[in-house]
C-alpha cells in the first residue's frame, strides 16, 4: 500500500513544458513513476520528453486515464488550473506553485466541495512513495523505501528528517509536504487518517511550524484513533511574533500559535515531541521500540 500515490498512479503535469516541470517529470520517470502526459494549453498534439501534450486536463484524462496531476502553473493562472483538474476528475492534485493568492485558494476550496479529489499544496515539495511514484520536486534519491509515514509543511525540513532517519536505517512509506500557505488543500488531520489505515506504515512523523492549529487538531484526533506512534516537531521556537517567516502561514498571531505552545499541546495529547530538529531521526527510532 502507501498513501495517495503508488506504482499504479497515472500522472500528468500541468504546465508540462516549463523548465522545472520537465526536470522533475524526468526524475519521476527515473524512479518508476508512470508519467502519462502533460497539459499546456495551446500545445496540444505535440510531444514533450516522449509524452503526449494535451490542451485540456479533460483530454488528458480521457486519453491516458490519468488520476494524479502535478501543477507547475504560475500563480496568476494556478487556481484555474487546479479547478480544471478537479472538474476533469483527477483524484490527487499536487500544487508545486509558490505564491498563489490566498483568496484564490479560498475559492478553490469552495469549488472542491462535492468533488472526490484531494489537493496537496500549494507551495509544496509534493508527495513521494519511494521506488514507486514521485509527484513533486524533492530529490528522490534521498528517500529510501520503508515503513515511516512523513507529513510536513516544509520541503527542506522534510529532507532533513528523512536523511536523519535513513542514517539510522529507517525508510519511508509515503512522504508528503502539505505546503506553507495559510489556506491549503489538505491538512495534517486528513493525512494522519490515511496513514492510520495504511498497513505499510508503522509510525507517523508530523513536522509542523508556528501559526494555525492544524497540528494540534491532528494530534487530538490521533490520541483517540491512531494506533501507531506519532512523532511531532514544530519549527519556529525562535521566530518573533507578528512576522511572516517565509511561509505565508508561518506567523505568530497569538499565544497559541507559538512553537512552545503547540509543542506543549502535542505532548499533552501523547505525541512524542522532538525539541531539537537534529534529534528527529533518533526520536522516531526510539518510538518504534
Amino acid at each position: 500500500m502507501s498513501i495517495l500515490v503508488d506504482k499504479d498512479s497515472r500522472v500528468i503535469f500541468q504546465g508540462f513544458t516549463g523548465q522545472h516541470a520537465t526536470f522533475h517529470a524526468e526524475d519521476a520517470i527515473r524512479i518508476g513513476t508512470q508519467v502519462v502526459g502533460g497539459v499546456t494549453p495551446g500545445k496540444g498534439g505535440q510531444t514533450h520528453i516522449d509524452q503526449p501534450v494535451f490542451d485540456t486536463v479533460k483530454d488528458a484524462v480521457v486519453q491516458t486515464g490519468a488520476n494524479v496531476s502535478v501543477v507547475f502553473v504560475p500563480p496568476p493562472f494556478c487556481a484555474d488550473a487546479i479547478m480544471e483538474a478537479i472538474e476533469a476528475g483527477i483524484k490527487v492534485i499536487v500544487v508545486i506553485t509558490d505564491g498563489v493568492p490566498v483568496q484564490d485558494m479560498v475559492r478553490v476550496k469552495r469549488y472542491l466541495i462535492g468533488h472526490d479529489a484531494i489537493i496537496i499544496g500549494p507551495n509544496t515539495a509534493g508527495v513521494i512513495t519511494p521506488e514507486e511514484c514521485k509527484v513533486g520536486i524533492m530529490p528522490a534519491h534521498i528517500y529510501p523505501k520503508g515503513r515511516i509515514g512523513v507529513v510536513s509543511r516544509s520541503g527542506t525540513l522534510n529532507y532533513e528528517a528523512v536523511e536523519q532517519m535513513s542514517e539510522l536505517g529507517l525508510g519511508i512509506s509515503t512522504s508528503i509536504s502539505i505546503g506553507g500557505d495559510p489556506v491549503n488543500g489538505c491538512d495534517f488531520l486528513t493525512l494522519l487518517k490515511k496513514f492510520a489505515e495504511d498497513s505499510d506504515t508503522d509510525a507517523v512523523l508530523m513536522i509542523g511550524e508556528i501559526g494555525g492549529s492544524q497540528e494540534v487538531e491532528a494530534a487530538a484526533w490521533a490520541r483517540d484513533y491512531l494506533k501507531k506512534p506519532l512523532i511531532g516537531f514544530i519549527a519556529g521556537a525562535t521566530a518573533p511574533p507578528g512576522r511572516t517567516m517565509g511561509h505565508a502561514g508561518a506567523i505568530i498571531s497569538g499565544e497559541a500559535d507559538t512553537a512552545q505552545a503547540k509543542m506543549q499541546r502535542l505532548a499533552e495529547l501523547g505525541v512524542s515531541v522532538v525539541q531539537n530538529a537534529a534529534e528527529i531521526g533518533k526520536t522516531v527510532q526510539r518510538s518504534l521500540k
Binding site: 522545472h20 500563480p75 496568476p76 509558490d98 498563489v100 493568492p101 490566498v102 483568496q103 484564490d104 485558494m105 479560498v106 475559492r107 476550496k109 469552495r110 515539495a125 520536486i137 524533492m138 530529490p139 534521498i142 510536513s152 509543511r153 516544509s154 520541503g155 527542506t156 525540513l157 522534510n158 529532507y159 532533513e160 536523511e163 536523519q164 506553507g180 495559510p182 489556506v183 513536522i207 511550524e209 508556528i210 501559526g211 494555525g212 492549529s213 492544524q214 516537531f233 519549527a235 519556529g236 521556537a237 525562535t238 521566530a239 518573533p240 507578528g242 512576522r243 517567516m245 517565509g246 511561509h247 505565508a248 502561514g249 508561518a250 525539541q275 531539537n276 530538529a277 537534529a278 534529534e279
Partner: protein
C-alpha cells in the same frame, strides 16, 4: 503588505465606508493649514506609522485650536515613536493625519480576516470596541461574533443584519451598520486583503457611524493584480536590509542575535535558528534563499547578512532538492572572495550534487568550518561565536 491609516481611510472613502473628515500632512505648517481647511471645533493629530499602540505611546494627540494642531505635528514629525510594537528604537514619523473630532456615543469593533480554521473569509464584530480584539476574545469570548462567508455567494445582507443585532444595534442602525459591513467585505475581496480592522467603529451623538481607526494588510502574493495597492508600499517602514533582500528575491528578517543564517526553505530555516538557540546561541536573522538559488543569490545573501554588525559567524545550511550544492558552493566562494569575508563561516551542504559542491569548496582553498549534520552545524556556529576552538 501593510499601508498607513490615511491610505486605508482613502480606500474606505472610495467604498463609501464613512470616515472622519481628515487630511494627511508632511509638516507642522501643512498640518496647521489642513486643520483650518477642515474647520470644526477640535482636531486629532495622528502619527502615521505602520505599528499599533500609537495612542498609549503619545502618537495620537487632541487639539482644540489650529495652533495646537501645529504644535502637536511639530512634536511628532521627524521624531521616532516608540510603541509596544515598534521595538526599542521606534519608527520614524514622516507624516501625520489631521482629522476633525466627533462626539462619540458608542464604540464597536468590526473586522475581516481569512480564518485559518474555516479557511474562509470571516467577519468579526464586537460591542467591545476600542480594545484589542485578541484580549476580548480571550477574556469574554461571548462578546465576539464570528460570521463565516461562503465564497460562492459572498457576504449576505442577512448575515450583516444578524451580526449588527448581535452587537446590540437596533432600528435604523442595523441597516446602516449592515451597509458598512457589506462595503468592507467588498473592499477586502476586491483588493486581496488578508486583514482589515475598524477599531473603533463609532456611533456619534448625531446617529452616524464612523471608522475612527482603520488598519489593513494585503496579500503580497496578489500584488501582481493590485498595482494601486502595491504603489502604496512605504519602504521607509521596513528594515532596509529586508527591502534589499526582497529585491534579490530573498526572504530576510532581521533578529538580534550573532549567528547569521543562510538556509534554503522556510521550515529548515526556522529549525536551524531553533537549533542554534538550543546550543546556547542566538540567530541574527531568518534568511530563506528559496529554491533554484544561483551563485549570485548566495553571494547577495552573504552581503546582506554581513551588513549586520552583530554577526560574529555565518551558518550556511543548505539541503538541496530543487537547489544544487555545486551552485551554492560557487556562490559561497564568490561571496567570500569578493567580500573578503573574515567572519568565520560554518558550511553544511546536503542533497543534490553534494560531491560536486564539496569539490568546489576544496579547490577554492578558502578556510571555512565544515559540518556534516544540522546538530554539528549549530554547535560549531555557537562555539565560533564564543571564540572557542571548533
Amino acid at each position: 503588505m501593510n499601508i498607513h491609516e490615511y491610505q486605508t481611510k482613502e480606500l474606505f472613502r472610495s467604498y463609501k465606508i464613512p470616515v472622519p473628515d481628515g487630511r494627511m500632512a508632511h509638516s507642522a505648517n501643512q498640518a496647521l493649514s489642513m486643520a483650518e481647511q477642515l474647520g470644526g471645533d477640535g482636531w486629532v493629530v495622528k502619527a502615521q506609522i505602520h505599528a499599533g499602540g500609537r495612542g498609549k505611546a503619545g502618537g495620537v494627540q487632541l487639539a482644540m485650536t489650529p495652533d495646537e494642531v501645529q504644535q502637536h505635528a511639530e512634536n511628532l514629525i521627524g521624531k521616532r515613536l516608540v510603541t509596544k510594537q515598534t521595538g526599542e528604537f521606534g519608527r520614524m514619523v514622516n507624516r501625520v493625519l489631521v482629522e476633525q473630532i466627533h462626539q462619540i456615543e458608542t464604540e464597536y469593533y468590526l473586522g475581516l480576516v481569512i480564518d485559518r480554521a474555516s479557511q474562509r473569509i470571516t467577519l468579526i464584530a464586537s460591542a467591545a470596541g476600542g480594545m484589542e480584539i485578541e484580549e476580548v476574545a480571550a477574556e469574554t469570548p461571548e462578546q465576539v461574533i464570528n460570521e463565516i462567508v461562503d465564497p460562492a455567494v459572498g457576504l449576505q445582507d442577512f448575515q450583516c443584519r444578524k451580526v449588527a443585532a448581535g452587537i446590540g444595534l437596533s432600528g435604523k442602525q442595523i441597516v446602516k451598520a449592515a451597509r458598512i459591513m457589506k462595503s468592507l467585505y467588498r473592499c477586502f475581496r476586491d483588493k486581496d486583503a488578508l486583514m482589515v480592522e475598524i477599531n473603533p467603529l463609532v456611533a456619534t451623538k448625531d446617529g452616524q457611524f464612523l471608522a475612527l481607526d482603520a488598519k489593513m494588510s494585503f496579500d503580497g502574493n496578489a500584488l501582481f493584480r493590485q498595482p494601486e495597492i502595491a504603489d502604496q508600499r512605504d519602504f521607509e517602514e521596513e528594515d532596509p536590509k529586508e527591502v534589499e533582500a526582497s529585491g534579490h528575491d530573498l526572504n530576510y528578517i532581521a533578529l538580534d542575535g550573532s549567528v547569521g543564517c543562510i538556509v534554503n526553505g522556510a521550515g529548515l530555516a526556522m529549525a536551524t535558528m531553533d537549533a542554534i538557540s538550543l546550543y546556547g546561541g542566538r540567530p541574527a536573522n531568518f534568511l530563506d534563499v528559496g529554491g533554484g538559488a544561483s551563485p549570485e543569490k548566495i553571494s547577495n545573501a552573504f552581503r546582506i547578512v554581513l551588513q549586520d554588525p552583530h554577526v560574529k559567524v555565518v551558518l550556511l545550511n543548505i539541503y538541496a532538492g530543487i537547489n544544487r550544492c555545486d551552485w551554492i558552493a560557487e556562490g559561497l566562494v564568490k561571496a567570500m572572495t569578493d567580500l573578503a569575508v573574515s567572519t568565520p563561516v560554518v558550511v553544511r551542504l546536503a542533497g543534490t550534487n553534494l560531491e560536486a559542491g564539496r569539490e568546489i569548496l576544496k579547490r577554492s582553498g578558502l578556510s571555512y568550518i565544515h559540518a556534516d549534520r544540522l546538530s554539528d552545524a549549530a554547535e560549531k556556529s555557537v562555539k565560533a561565536v564564543n571564540g572557542g576552538a571548533v
